[in-house]
Symmetry: C2
Subunit: 270 residues, 2 copies
DNA sequence: CGTCTAGTTGAATCGCATCAACAAGCGTGG
DNA sequence: CCACGCTTGTTGATGCGATTCAACTAGACG
């Protein structure tokens, strides 16, 4: 259970500023880099944020996209009554701010959940570069499109899935993302509070807590505070809903045994 | 209550095909058209769909965006268990298919809710044009960004709002969109079923039906089948939740009068 | 005429939110 | 050091709101 004090950043020096050239950014975005542009001398500024700081705030002028080089972030939206809704948990390689391109001001906020190193991609620069460097423009199209598709599947989850299924899917998606970044897919630390998770999933923090406890009791995961260990990814994937409390009560009325084995993979039960 | 047999299309002939030039498409997308391109002779094909037909289907090769010239559409996503989730109700001026740019196949389906005239915007053409015609590329960025922002507010509604508030917001947004297209903002026909609305809002069709009835009884709207008349948009805007049934029951126990006036604007009640 | 789909309405149930009490972790300051 | 407040997380009891199941009506269509 590593202390967070040793950051994983590669090209990190103790200064607050650092610059990346176009080739580095291109690699980050998985865009092929044509020879003709190899000597383009555009530089992109890095910015450093401490945990809790805002990368951008509601209403702030929009002039730049943000590429996450290291660290963890949450983005939030405020509804008409001022309550906040968590939209995403960006991490290394993700791009923020695309939802604000269409207007002059940011419609959401982004808050660092840990110390972060962020690369600024001024929108004007990106737009200009897209001329001569069409693969970049296409890459941005691709990024936004993927983001749209992700939001759509989130919507469908919000629409229909049970609390258990939502939490399970959330854990699996984190697991997947950590894996793609080269970390363990089965054990990791949550960077956000139960409240944040609840907001993200459309649940209350109590429900999230209870659900994690339930999955823990079933042995599908092991939870202790923010440390998560996924024991049975397949079961999580197939999970629709846990047996209802009433059902549980009835069953445990019958079998007074204290160790009741694997229920929870509900396809059979539902 | 007009028959639908008289379409509103302007440049419609009885043929199934028709072509638009770049200037027309640009105007549709509200993109300024530079002189240099005035004589660009790109043509965009129209396609005609009858109500119930699919504009594109799940898994179909992606090679084109779709610009709605007339008619009403729903787009749907299938979750892992095959149940469908309504994603949007595009109408005149909206662009479909942007969620599939990032991969070779459509991840969703689009179904015509009425007869439709659709302009095909081949993605390759758009991408190529974006070179020389940078405002077009920016416009696409803008469209996708706006779509992202819209999805985000939908997510936040799904997360927190009551059934009444969701239905109210839905009606208001339709009203707004009709208004922007030059139709009445207060009276219109729904083109989709209660089931579609429910799926779109994350509710069941019964709940939608009940909610519409309730709003009707309160006089905020008038409903009769698919015909909607908005009587008090302001009240709809401010609506958080209706008084609970239990509360209602209690109140009507006390006042046995049959005409109980305007409750429903719940800010005071919540 | 019967059949099918769309919509309405009622009654019962369930899942999650709400309210509340409590434990654990953590920094602060006496 | 412990006392203190503060945030985060856990767990229990209760109730509301939306779902579910079901019966019924109204149109559309052949």
């Amino acid at each position: 259970m590593q202390k967070e004090s040793a950051p994983i950043c590669t090209n990190w020096t103790s200064q607050n500023k650092l610059w990346s050239n176009l080739a580095e950014v291109a690699e980050f975005l998985h865009v092929p880099m044509p020879q003709a542009l190899q000597r383009e001398n555009v530089l992109f500024q890095h910015m450093h944020f401490k945990a809790g700081q805002r990368i951008h705030t509601l209403g702030q002028n929009f002039d730049s996209l943000y590429l996450v080089n290291s660290g963890f972030i949450k983005t939030i939206l405020f509804d008409e009554f001022g309550t906040e809704q968590v939209l995403s948990f960006p991490m290394k390689g993700d791009v923020l701010g695309m939802d604000s391109i269409h207007c002059a001001h940011h419609s959401s906020e982004a808050i660092a959940l840990s110390d972060c190193d962020i690369i600024l991609l001024p929108y004007k620069t990106i737009a200009t570069l897209s001329h001569s460097y069409d693969q970049l423009g296409q890459a941005i199209f691709g990024l936004m499109s993927k983001e749209l598709a992700r939001q759509q599947t989130r919507l469908s989850i919000h629409g229909s899935a049970s609390a258990e299924a939502r939490v399970a899917k959330f854990l699996l998606s984190l697991s997947e993302r950590f894996f793609l970044l080269g970390y363990s897919k089965s054990t990791f630390n949550l960077r956000m509070t139960r409240n944040d998770i609840g907001s993200y999933l459309g649940l209350t923090l109590e429900t999230v807590s209870r659900t994690l406890s339930a999955l823990n009791e079933l042995g599908l995961i092991s939870v202790s505070q923010r440390h998560i260990c996924i024991n049975d990814a397949e079961a999580l994937r197939n999970l629709r809903k846990l047996p209802s409390n009433k059902l549980k009560a009835k069953i445990s009325e019958c079998f007074q045994s204290s160790t009741i084995s694997a229920w929870g993979m509900a396809p059979a039960l539902n």
